[in-house]
């Protein structure tokens, strides 16, 4: 089976800091891949490069065989790559419902109407389903500022999937969420994404979450990918234990 996303030899430096050195990553349709690595290892930089927020100095990114290297986020998202953010990027003055409606509206039409009421029956029906899928019904009318951290993450991810992406990158979906809420949160996310063909790459610091939800794991260290295999193999890798997980047996 061919790759959905194929990043080859990505390199990126910010002044003296090298955030990506020869990073090559491949993922297949529908695959669940965990990205691990300590702070500053280059995980977010990788996500930023794939989604067009940061232009790699070298290397190429192919999505379904199409070269998307260096395209801006707006165009990359139209090619079928969506992401969520380490810090959720929401519209603060709108309710969760309006945030998601906005995302749906942009996703569903090439030219947004300037006159027709944004709340069309079609969009509202879809919004209803999306709220239900992400268990956000009770929060729909709250103010963003008043939402618990995990709920903000869910709104952020729900907005990202409105375009029915082929590839979804989740940057630390469980960070800033209480330990006992991490598994329930991941359950909601993964069940909301189930059934589709979307490949999910998620950045995660909690190894139990990685072991449970990833089919494959990539370990980043100092801008490089130092391991790429099934979770048990990567988490058992000596280099990974020394540099990333900090568990030395």
């Amino acid at each position: 089976m061919t790759a959905l996303i194929e990043a080859r030899g990505l390199h990126k430096s910010f002044g003296a800091v090298v955030a990506a050195r020869d990073v090559s990553v491949m993922a297949r349709r529908g695959e669940r891949v965990g990205l691990i690595g300590n702070n500053g290892a280059g995980k977010t930089t990788f996500v930023n490069m794939v989604t067009g927020y940061v232009k790699p100095d070298r290397g190429s990114i192919l999505l379904d065989g199409i070269d998307i290297t260096g395209l801006p986020p707006r165009v990359v998202s139209r090619h079928g790559v969506s992401r969520s953010f380490q810090m959720p990027q929401l519209f603060q003055s709108m309710t969760p419902e309006e945030n998601m409606l906005m995302a749906l509206g942009i996703a569903r039409s090439e030219r947004l109407s300037s006159w027709r009421d944004a709340r069309t029956p079609d969009l509202m029906a879809e919004l209803h389903d999306l709220l239900a899928r992400f268990r956000l019904g009770e929060y729909r009318d709250r103010s963003i500022a008043a939402l618990p951290g995990g709920v903000r993450k869910l709104v952020d991810i729900a907005m990202a999937v409105t375009r029915r992406p082929k590839l979804l990158l989740l940057d630390e979906p469980t960070s800033g969420v209480a330990a006992e809420e991490k598994f329930p949160l991941m359950d909601v996310i993964m069940s909301a994404l189930a059934g589709g063909e979307v490949a999910v790459l998620f950045v995660e610091h909690d190894m139990e979450i990685v072991a449970r939800y990833a089919e494959r794991v990539l370990a980043f260290y100092d801008g490089r990918v130092i391991a790429d295999d099934i979770p048990t193999t990567v988490l058992g890798n000596e280099e990974v234990q020394r540099y990333v997980t900090g568990i030395v047996q």
């Binding site: 707006r74 380490q86 810090m87 929401l90 942009i106 006159w115």
Partner: protein, 324 residues
């Protein structure tokens, strides 16, 4: 509005305005005409501000519309009010289109200052252009209204009031429809978080451009109406105090309600006319205190009294660093 349909709301408001104007004294009719004309300009600014941009130079478009109408009257003998106002709006809109590329990419105080600079340049040029009346400006005749030409000044005042009311209601209803549309919502989204808008696949640049040009068009229509009401145009239309007045109005009104923009405008004209009558040398102070009170007690503007919505945002858009 959703319940009754925009056309019914428009007709009812227009009938109410026309009826009230018919019973009001002349000074009220004139004051309200001016308030509506300036309100239309401020409505354009509100549209722009919904997208996160504040222009301190709307006087430029106000002036462009006024001069377009005035010069068409003088040079081409055009005298129909509808034609003159449409022309004022169109000329300002084209001017907006022409200078939009210059402003693209600027935000916040830089955008505001650039717009102010452009309006001051126009002010300076008009002051020195003697063929356009220089600093004295040009006096205008009274326009006609389709087939109607008023016989007395009072009849003209009322006719212009009704006409201005018509344009105002049309602009208000169209803006309300727009604000509730996807594209209208996108402006609020762009103000909150540009990065997210781009990631959703929409263009912040297009949002700003569209708003800027629409605001320019509204500014021109308001300017043409004001020129007809005053019977005079001069470079002061582009002076920074008139731009400042539109910012004042937009802040006073807030961005939630279009009706609030016109209420704010009427309120401002009343404050101005009373305080310049009773405290001739300190009406600016009265205005300042008024604005201070609004910002302290109604940070979301008068419109927040008319429309209940979400509490104000705690923080504006997240800084770019938060992407890390």
């Amino acid at each position: 509005m959703r319940r009754f349909g925009p056309l019914a709301v428009a007709l009812a408001s227009f009938a109410l305005i026309a009826a009230l104007g018919g019973t009001a004294p002349n000074w009220v009719v004139f004051l309200t005409t001016m308030a509506f004309a300036k309100g239309i300009v401020a409505l354009g600014l509100v549209l722009l501000m919904r997208g996160g941009l504040v222009s301190f130079g709307q006087g430029l478009f106000y002036c462009a519309g006024a001069y377009a109408a005035g010069l068409a009257m003088r040079w081409a003998d055009a005298s129909d009010a509808l034609l003159l106002v449409a022309l004022g709006g169109a000329v300002a809109l084209l001017l907006g289109l022409a200078i939009a590329p210059l402003l693209a990419g600027y935000r916040s105080i830089f955008f505001a200052t650039l717009t102010l600079a452009l309006s001051m340049i126009a002010y300076g040029i008009l002051n020195k252009t003697y063929s356009l009346g220089g600093s004295d400006g040009i006096n205008l005749r009274a326009p006609s209204f389709l087939f109607y030409r008023a016989a007395t000044p009072d009849a003209f005042g009322y006719a212009l009031f009704v006409f201005t009311g018509l344009v105002t209601v049309a602009a208000a209803v169209l803006c309300r429809l727009h604000f509730d549309s996807m594209r209208g919502l996108l402006s609020l989204a762009a103000r909150d978080n540009e990065i997210r808008v781009e990631y959703l696949g929409a263009s912040v640049r297009r949002v700003s451009l569209g708003n800027f040009v629409a605001a320019a068009g509204l500014g021109g229509m308001g300017g043409a109406l004001a020129a007809l009401a005053l019977g005079h145009i001069d470079p002061d239309f582009a002076f920074w105090t008139s731009s400042g007045e539109f910012v004042f109005l937009a802040i006073l009104a807030g961005h939630q309600s279009v009706v609030a923009v016109f209420l704010a405008s009427i309120l401002l004209e009343l404050v101005r006319s009373f305080s310049s009558q009773y405290f001739p040398n300190s009406w600016q102070m009265a205005l300042g205190i008024f604005l201070l009170l609004v910002i302290l007690f109604l940070p979301e503007g008068l419109g927040s009294l008319l429309r209940r919505r979400n509490p104000p945002p705690e923080a504006a858009s997240l800084p770019v660093e938060s992407l890390k």
